[in-house]
Structures are given as C-alpha cells and as structure tokens.
C-alpha cells in the first residue's frame, strides 16, 4: 500500500509522456486523485493512539553501506502526506484546465515532484530521506526554468536566472545535509555495523561534540527550504518566476518538509545539540515571523505578499518545534497542515485574480467582489484562516504553539504574538485591495468559473472542517510528537544527572 502511494504519481507521469496533449492533463489529474484515494484509505487504517510506525516497508537496499529502502507512516507525517496528495491534485487539476506548452513534460515533472515529496515524508532511512529531499527539487528546477515567467521587463531576472539562485541556495543546503547524514551514520556506528536507519541511529546515539556541528548541517538545509529569515534570499525571485499552479504545491508542501525534518530527524538524533541551540533557533524563527510580516505588508506583488507571509508562518511553526514541548510541537504539526491548505488556496486565488485583472500589482486592482459573491466568500474564508482568526484551525495551531512558547520563554511569546496583529493587517490588505474599493478600468469582476470552483472549494471545505474539529489532527499527531520531544527532554535530563 505504502509503495503504491509513493510510486503511483511517478508511474502516471511516465505513462503521460506518451499520451496526446489533450488528455494528458486529465490523466495526470487522475493520477493525483488516485494517490489521494490511496492516502485516504491508509489514513482510515491508521491506529490513532499509537506512537510508532505503521504500514512499514523495509528492505535492504545497499547492504554494504547500511542503506535501507524503508518507509512508514506515523503521527508526524500522516497528515502531511494527505496534504501533499490534496494540494498536488489541486495544483494539477488547476493546470489541467489551462493551455500549456509541452504539457506531457509539465505533468510528468509535476508528478515526479509529488513522488519525491512523498518519499521524503515517508522515508525512515536517513540516506533515503536525503535522496528524496534532493530529488523532489529537481523537477521544480525545470518547471520554474522552462515554464516560468520572464521578469526582465520589470528589471527582474529571467526565469532560468531566478531558478539558478534557488538552486545554489538549496544545493548548498542539501550537500551539507548529505555530509551530515553520512557523518551521523559513521559516528553513531562507533566502529560497528554501519546503518542509516533513523530508529537505529537514535538508539545508538551520537556524542555531543559531533551533534553540535551535524545539527547545523541539517538545520541549514531545513532553514533554506522553509525559507527562514536570512536564508530566504532565493524566495522573492523564485516566487515571481514560478508558474502559479506549481507554487500551489511548492509553497504549500515543500516548505513543510524542512519543518518536518526538524521534528523527524533533528530532535530525535541530535537531542543535546537541539536543547543547546534552542534559543538560537527561536531567535531565528522570531526573526522570520517579524521580518516576514513586515515585508508582507509592504509588498505590492500578490505573490510576494503570500511568499513573505509564508516566511512568517513557517517562523511560527519553527517556534512551535523549538519550544521543545509537546504542546508547541503538536501545534506545529497542525499548523503545517493548516498553512499548506491556506497558502495553496491563496495561490489558486491569486492565479484567478491575475487572470481577471491582467496584473500582479495590488495597487492596480480592486472592486472584484461586486459580480463575484461566491468567489468573494471563498476568498474571505481563506483570508480569515490565513490571519489565524480564532475559530479557525490556524488559530488552534498558533494557540498551541504560542502557549508552548509562553510556558517555555515568556518574553519571546510576547514578541511573537505581536505578529498576529501584523498578520491581520497584511491578510486583510490583500483581500480589501483586490476585492473591495473601487474597480479600476480593465479589471474584470466576474464570478469564479465552475472549473476553478471545483479546485478551490474542496480546499476551503477542508479549512472549514478542520476549524470545527482540529482535534482530528492533534489527536493523531500527539503520540508521535511526544516521542520526538521526549527524546530531547530525556537527554537534557540525563545531561543534568551527569553534571550533578
């Protein structure tokens, strides 16, 4: 089952290469839908109260190096897998409704990227994780480079040039992580049998000295991917270059792999280093929150408003993880799903807005709600979820995160929560600036088309359903989260014991 989940997208994509242009979009949509169905079936079979891995596949792959092909589901990745499948379906369906050049290749790359992303969520082997982590990006290089938007007219870079920037950033991160992974396996083997199994490495443990530098090798990769404050330099150009349908998944899911990596790998494998660098990471995340929020309310390009707001949101998620408390990390998991849903919806909405107005500049828009009450209502719900209005699941996510922070580092909590007011401002500014006020000439106020509605409505329904019952995710994530967090708290306790 778990193998099917992982490889179905790629298989559909490969077959799609040989299909005629007209049907390939639908074929790809069917592939993404099939993946989602498999994911949902697996979610129904999931044992809610259990902490460990379920649905595992485990075969030796490169036995000499101790690399295994090992996959599994647990509370950490279950809903991220579902989110991946859902957003990919949305992004692909949205693209399938529109004309594309070389659609076979486009959809092949999209589906290949889905397999890569699912692989990094499902991997239970460190090297397999690194491999998927890198592989999931390769299709995006080509998607952005070949189908991207040339910004030279606005004084910006060409699409390939913008993609290059992203490549350099992410490749440096990936390489550091690769080195880190190899080092982890070698050092943790203590001269014995080499293994990359995350579980085994956790049991063997690493000396604190090695943890310190390897921690940063992994952190670098994850922080770039989010992106976090100071290493987000690739984000603005990339977001402006990328085709909007790919941004739905790129912004919605890929950033979460970084956050997930912290919970899945960094906390259990480098516990002492984690508690040692807690404050540094919290400060960095605080920087992301404040800087992202401030930038989001000064931008005029819709994509960048959404992009910088993601920087801020990922800052919240990072903070939740580095409270090193179960409540904060539970909130982080919930918030990863919430943020994926809203940002995916936002990019679909932005794509529709741009089609209606022929511009991406907020200042040249307005008044689009008049003839589009349904679209306005959907957009309004997404906006309110984005700014984490109480009553949305996003609020519960932030509530758990900030409660954790409040109990762990009270001063940080006071600073972080101020960003909630900033979020209210930039999210409403986006909504009002496009939908309300006077309508400039050339901007169309037209109701959302049925085909776009089919893509957007399910996302909004998921947002509403989670708002009513966030416990759905919290309850299933909690046992696994407790395990990850306990790794850190236990190690720091034993540290104390040693010192005494």
């Amino acid at each position: 089952m778990i193998n099917a989940l992982l490889w179905v997208p790629l298989a559909f994509g490969f077959v799609g290469l040989f299909l005629p242009k007209r049907v390939v979009g639908w074929w790809a949509t069917a592939g993404a839908a099939a993946t989602l169905v498999i994911g949902v079936i697996m979610a129904f079979g999931f044992d809610n109260g259990a902490a460990g891995l379920q649905d595992t596949v485990h075969t030796s792959w490169i036995s000499g190096l101790g690399v295994d092909y090992s996959l599994g589901l647990d509370g950490l990745n279950l809903f991220l897998v579902l989110l991946t499948a859902l957003l990919w379906l949305g992004g692909i369906a949205f693209a399938a409704f529109r004309e594309k050049e070389r659609p076979q290749l486009f959809f092949f790359l999209m589906l290949a990227a889905e397999t890569g992303t699912l692989g990094s969520f499902l991997s239970q082997d460190l090297l397999l994780f690194v491999l998927f982590f890198d592989l999931m990006l390769v299709p995006f290089y080509f998607l952005f480079g070949a189908w991207g938007i040339d910004r030279t007219a606005e004084g910006g870079p060409t699409a390939p040039r913008a993609t290059l920037k992203m490549m350099i950033y992410t490749l440096i991160g990936s390489l550091l992580m690769l080195v880190g992974a190899i080092a982890t396996a070698i050092i943790s083997a203590h001269g014995g049998h080499l293994t990359f199994s995350i579980e085994a490495i956790q049991q063997q443990g690493l000396p604190v000295g090695s943890q310190r530098w390897i921690f940063w090798f992994f952190a670098a990769a994850f922080l770039v991917k989010m992106p976090a404050f100071l290493v987000h330099g690739w984000m603005p150009d990339t977001y402006r270059a990328a085709p909007l349908s790919t941004l739905v998944v790129f912004s919605g899911v890929l950033a979460k792999v970084g956050a997930y990596g912290f919970l899945k790998i960094v906390l259990p494998l480098f516990p002492q280093a984690t508690s040692q660098f807690q404050t540094v990471l919290l400060l960095l995340a605080l920087g992301s929150i404040l800087y992202g929020s401030v930038m989001a309310f000064t931008q005029t390009n819709l994509r960048l408003i959404a992009g910088y707001s993601s920087v801020a949101q990922l800052g919240f998620i990072t903070i939740g993880i580095f409270t090193l408390r179960a409540d904060g990390s539970d909130g982080a998991i919930l918030q990863m799903v919430n943020h994926g849903l809203v940002v995916g919806a936002i990019f679909i909405i932005i794509a529709i807005l741009v089609e209606r107005s022929g511009t991406e500049d907020l200042r040249a828009m307005g008044g689009m709600a008049m003839r589009a009450p349904v679209f306005a209502a959907l957009f309004l719900i997404v906006t309110m979820a984005t700014l984490a209005m109480p009553g949305s699941a996003n609020f519960i996510g932030e509530f758990y995160i900030l409660n954790g922070l409040f109990q762990a580092k009270i001063v940080f909590a006071f600073i972080a929560i101020s960003a909630v007011a900033l979020a209210a401002y930039y999210a409403l500014r986006l909504y009002i600036g496009t939908m309300h006020n006077r309508k400039p000439d050339g901007v169309l106020s037209r109701e959302i088309s049925l085909r776009d509605g089919i893509v957007l409505a399910p996302l909004v329904l998921c947002i509403l359903a989670l708002a009513l019952y966030p416990q759905l995710i919290l309850h299933r994530a909690d046992p696994s989260v407790q395990q990850s967090v306990a790794a850190v708290t236990e190690s720091s306790e034993s540290n104390l014991a040693v010192n005494e």
């Binding site: 800087y291 539970d330 007011a421 309850h475």
Partner: protein
C-alpha cells in the same frame, strides 16, 4: 428540556439562519432572506426565554450548568472542549442580545429593503448574533476568544458592508486590527491563566483562583490587565476607542446593533464574568474603573461638538459604556449589567431614529444641515425624544434608574470611590446637554429643505446621484448599493414596530429595578456574584433615593442648559466657540487620539517596513548573503568551467568537496 439544551438551540438558530441565507442567495427573494433572518433571531429569543424559565424553576444555588459537545482541541495537557456555561449572567445577556437583535432585524427588514446586498447583510447580521451568543455562552476562555473574534469579524464585515467606499473599507480595517490587538490581550491572559491554574474552563478557573492567588499578587493583576486590553478594545475605551466613531461607516442598523446595543458591551460582560479574578486584583479593578471614568468624560466632551449625527451618538455610546465599566469594576455588578440592558434599548432606538432621519436627508449626516424634523416626521421624532430622555436620565425613564444605581453604589462604597460619584454626575450633566443639543437642533426650528419636501409631498428626497456621506464623493453607479430608495419609519411598518417597542422599553424598563421596591435584576443576578465580597455592599434605600433626586436635578438642569443654548439663544454656542476656539478645536479633533496613534504606532511600523524592504532586503539579503554566495559558487564554478560548463556540474563539484572535506575530518578525528 434542560436550560443547556435551550441554550444550544439559542446558539444554533442564528448560525443556521446565517448559513441558509448565504447559501440560498440566488434562489431566494430579499423578502424570504429577511424573514429567515428575523425569524431565526426571534426564535432564538423564545428559546432564551424558555431557558430562563428552566433556570427560574431551580433553586438559586443550582442555577449554573456546563455542557459540552465534543473535544475541540485536547492534547498535551491542554483540554479545550466545545462547551457552554449557562447561569443567570449568561442568560441575562442572551435575552438582551436576542431581544434587541430581533427588533433590529425587524427594523433592517424595512430599512435595507432596496439594497442590493440584502442577503449578504442579513447573513452577516445573523452571523453576528451567533458570535455574540457564543461569546456570552462560552464555557471556557478559548471559546470566549473565538466568540470574541467572531464578533470582531462580523463587525468588520458590516462596517465595510458598502465596500466600494474606501472610507468604509478603511474603517473596517481599523476596527479589525484594533480588535485583534484586544484578542491578543485575551490570548495572553488565557496563557497566563493556564500557566497558573492549568485549565481554561470557567468553573475550574474561578474555583481555583482564590486558593492559588494572594490578593494583588502580580500574576493575577497581570491576568486582569490583559483581560482589560481585550475588554477595552472591544468596548471602545481609551486608548483603543478610535475605531468606534469610524465604524459609523456601516449601515445604521449595524451601528444600532453592534456598535451600540450589543458587541461594544462585551467588555462589560467580560469583567462581570471574570469578577472572581478582579476581586483578587483590586489594583486592576481600580485601573479599569478609572479608565472607564476617563472614557466617559472624554467621550462626552467630544459628543458636545460633533456635527455628524451618527458619530455624536457613537461618542455617547463610548461614554455610556464608561459608566458600565465603572459599575462592574467597582463592584456594582448588577447595576452595571442593568445599565447595559437599558442602554441597549435607548441607544438602539436613538440610532434607529437617526437612521430614519438620515434616510430622509438622502444620507446626509451633518446636523448643521438638519432642522425641523419634529414637524416632518412625527413618529421618528417622538421615539427619538423617548430615547433621548432615557439617555439624559430624565426622571423615571430607564436610564434614570440604571445610571444612578451605579453612582449610588460608588457613594455607598465611599472613600476614593466618591470620585466616581462626583465625576459621574458631571458626566450625566454633559450627557443631558449633548443629547438635547442633538434633539433640539434636529427636531426643532424651521424645516430644512429636505424636511419641507417631506411635509409638502409626503415623499423622501433623493439625491441626484448617490454619494458617500463621509467624503461627498459621487458613488460608482455600478455599485447598486446602498439602494436608491431611502426608507423612513413613517412609511415602513416593520421599522415603526421595532422603534415603538424600544421606545416603550426605553421609557418604562427602569421600573423592573426600582430601589427598595422590586430590584428584579439584582435578585436574578445575585447567585452569580455571591462569591464577591463587593456584592454585599448595598446602598440604603434612603441613599439610593437621594442619589436619584440629585440625578433628576442634574438631568433637568442639563436639558434646561441645552434648551437655553440651542433654542432660546442659539447665538451663545457660536460665541462660546469663537471665544474658546482652542478648546473647540481640541474637542472637534477628538483630543487628537487618531493623530497620536498615527505618530506613535502606524508611522514607525511603516518606516520599519520601508527600511526592511528598501535597505535590509536589498543590501543584506540580496546583496551580501545571496550575492556573496553566488559569487563564491561562481568562482568555484569558474575553475571547473574550463573542463565542463553548467550548473549541474557545480553540484558534482560540491559532492567532491564534501566527500574530501569529510574524509579529512575523520582523518583528523581518528589520529
């Protein structure tokens, strides 16, 4: 059925109404939408009464029930249930909210008739009532925050209801952001409560608090101050009040319902609900009382000079809420809640009358251009007078009993609290003056052209082109709302009915709470407040009646002063204005609060944003970090480029470097 079952129904009906109207907006006529909306609230009111009956059937000590539907978010030691709490206080609020709301829905049914967004309006209005009920029925702090934020959202949505007007969208944004600041206060308070007491449930918090906290311990004071941030933001108390006058951009029924009768009194409810904490933090309670006092005086002084009819009433609302905040903070709980109720009646009524007159003026709101409506609109002016009398605390009207009860309590508490009595009476004098300034100037005198037109033809004037009353800007004809037709009470039976009922209540509702005679409200709310030592303080009947006599004299004096200033000698106000032009400018500019906030908060935030965008992002992120990295990679790439070209090769290079570096590291470690 039990009281909680009825309470769940109370909650469910408006939500169902809102969703039904929203989903059926293409299939239903405006009339159906109005009937569903008004009916849902009317039924909710009925359920509220049935809950009341259930509650009264129990012994006073047993009149509190908690009920929960499902675990909302309960992991990692936090237990948050979707639960409500039913006691006399919440049922009191339910009755006030649903009662006044159903009348305002009825009024809106007529008033908004020709507006194209009719469905949207009623859907939002029902959603607002649902949110407000959630706020008052919530059984824990998290759900309270949800209701708190939902009303903020509904308020935003209805303020910017006419969203093609930039003035309206800006006002909506302002209201929303300031309310979010209030939400943050509540959230932080909840965190601190959780840290200290380990729970969010009301019952557990209030039971544990006296065991855990010492009186005036910093933690409990901090909790209360954070709660107050929320209360002040929602109830438009200094310095979080600037959004309320701007909120008058919304349609008048909205001003009446949300920005006068219900939502803005949420802060009062909050203090009453959490009185168990405030009793432990007398410092915080005193701060609340003094802020309330300052607000009531500042707002009353501004109301004296406002020329915009709705904004003048809005400042009056702030001022009256100041009285309620003073009341519940110093311990006059039932008096504060009683004033909340009477104020809901007469202020809702005043807004309705103002709406009727503004409709007759074709949306003009400047009182300088109004006069003589007493002759042109009999019904509206009589009801407006009823509302005005109650607001000015004219003897035996509802406002008379409720306001003076708060001041009598302050006297009975004595000591420092006499300040509240004295300045409270000063505020009462100002209230009577500004109220009758409006009434005399709008209703008396020679009819203005619009009033004359109404008298002559029996029809309401229509502006040649629809315009924005705030800016005078001609509106986009594509807008379609607010409708071309204006509706006044004289020509609309639903409006007339709503205003008639409220006029009756404004005049006579005070008789349910006469000192020494019946005191119904006090008896009903008593079980909620028995745990507070302050509830034991009770002014003697003599003291209460002396207070009432002083209040009556002050009210009459204020009305007389207004009569002299605006009827007998209309030159005097103008002369005063010239003589004290500095004072007038200061008041007319609303004490420059907007400007101060602009300089202290808005501009610095924007400056930081500009700095981040123009300097930091460009030079540090894009310049130093990204540029530096790219250059390094570029140089490294250049070496390889002699062999092969391309970025993918760079990757290979890094792999080699990485492996070599790693090998070196281990060699060093091993040796």
């Amino acid at each position: 059925m039990s009281a909680t079952a009825w309470a769940w129904l109370v909650l469910l009906l408006p939500l169902a109404g809102s969703i039904t109207i929203a989903l059926g907006f293409r299939a239903t006529s405006w009339r159906t939408a109005g009937i569903i909306g008004t009916g849902a609230i009317g039924l909710a009111f009925l359920c509220g009464i049935l809950a009341l009956v259930e509650l009264l059937g129990e012994s006073p000590d047993a009149r509190h029930h908690a009920s929960a539907l499902w675990e909302y978010a309960s992991v990692a030691g936090l237990h948050i249930k979707l639960g409500i709490y039913v006691d006399p206080l919440s049922i009191f609020m339910v009755l006030v909210v649903t009662g006044v709301s159903s009348l305002i829905h009825l009024y809106s049914f007529g008033y908004m008739q020709s507006d194209e967004g009719y469905h949207r309006f009623f859907s939002y209005l029902n959603f607002f009532v649902f949110s407000m009920l959630l706020l008052v029925l919530a059984g824990n702090f998290v759900l309270l925050i949800v209701g708190w934020a939902f009303v903020g959202f509904a308020s935003y949505a209805l303020i910017s209801y006419w969203y093609r007007r930039t003035t309206a969208t800006r006002a909506g944004m302002k209201a929303f952001v300031i309310n979010v600041v209030g939400d943050i206060g509540l959230v932080l308070a909840a965190f601190l409560i959780f840290q200290q007491l380990g729970t969010f449930e009301y019952t557990e918090v209030f039971a544990k608090a006296p065991q855990v906290f010492h009186t005036n311990e910093w933690t409990v004071v901090a909790i209360c101050l954070l709660l107050l941030v929320g209360a002040f933001a929602k109830s438009a108390q200094l310095p979080f009040h600037t959004w309320l006058p701007d909120a008058m951009e919304g349609p008048t029924p909205v001003s009446s319902l949300i920005h006068a009768a219900t939502m803005v009194t949420a802060g009062v409810y909050l203090i009453a609900r959490t009185h168990a904490l405030f009793v432990l933090a007398p410092t915080a309670a005193d701060i609340a009382a003094f802020v309330g006092l300052a607000t009531l005086l500042v707002a009353a002084s501004i109301a004296l000079v406002m020329t915009d009819l709705k904004r003048a009433i809005a400042y009056s609302t702030m001022s009256q809420i100041g009285y309620m905040i003073v009341g519940v903070s110093i311990g006059a709980y039932s008096a504060g809640m009683f004033h909340l109720m009477t104020h809901a009646f007469f202020k809702a009524l005043l807004f309705m009358a103002a709406g009727s007159i503004i409709a007759a003026m074709a949306n003009e709101q400047n009182i300088d251009k109004m006069s003589g409506f007493g002759k042109a609109m009999r019904f509206t002016s009589v009801t407006m007078l009823c509302g005005g009398l109650a607001l000015a605390a004219f003897p035996l009207t509802s406002g008379f009993f409720s306001k003076d009860e708060i001041l009598a309590y302050a006297t009975a508490r004595g000591g420092m609290y006499l300040i509240f009595t004295i300045l409270g009476y000063l505020g009462a004098l100002l209230t009577a003056i500004y109220t009758f300034r409006l009434i005399f100037r709008v209703l008396r005198g020679d009819p203005c052209p619009e009033a004359q037109h109404l008298i002559d033809t029996g029809h309401v004037v229509h502006a040649e082109a629809p315009f924005n009353p705030a800016t005078g800007e001609i509106e986009d004809t594509d807008v379609g709302f607010p409708g071309e037709d204006h509706h006044i009470a004289e020509q609309s039976p639903p409006m007339k009915l709503a205003m008639g009922v409220l006029a009756f209540l404004a005049l006579f509702a005070g008789f349910i709470q006469v000192p020494g005679v019946d005191e119904t409200v006090t008896h009903f709310l008593d079980p909620v407040f028995t745990d507070s030592p302050l509830a034991a303080i009770h002014p003697s009947n003599t003291a209460a009646w002396v207070g009432l006599a002083i209040g009556a004299a002050i009210s009459l004096a204020g009305i007389a002063i207004a009569w002299w200033l605006y009827v007998v000698s209309p030159e005097t106000p103008r002369r005063l204005q010239e003589r004290f032009s500095a004072v007038h400018t200061f008041l007319y500019n609303k004490w420059y609060f907007d400007e101060a906030i602009d300089i202290l908060v808005v501009r610095p935030a924007l400056a930081v944003g500009r700095f981040a965008n123009n300097v930091f992002e460009r030079f540090v992120i894009d310049g130093a970090i990204t540029g530096g990295t790219e250059e390094t990679v570029g140089r490294a790439g250049a070496i390889v480029r002699t062999l092969q070209n391309g970025v993918v090769r760079t990757y290979g290079l890094f792999l080699v470097f990485g492996a070599v570096g790693l090998a070196l590291y281990f060699l060093i470690q091993q040796s």
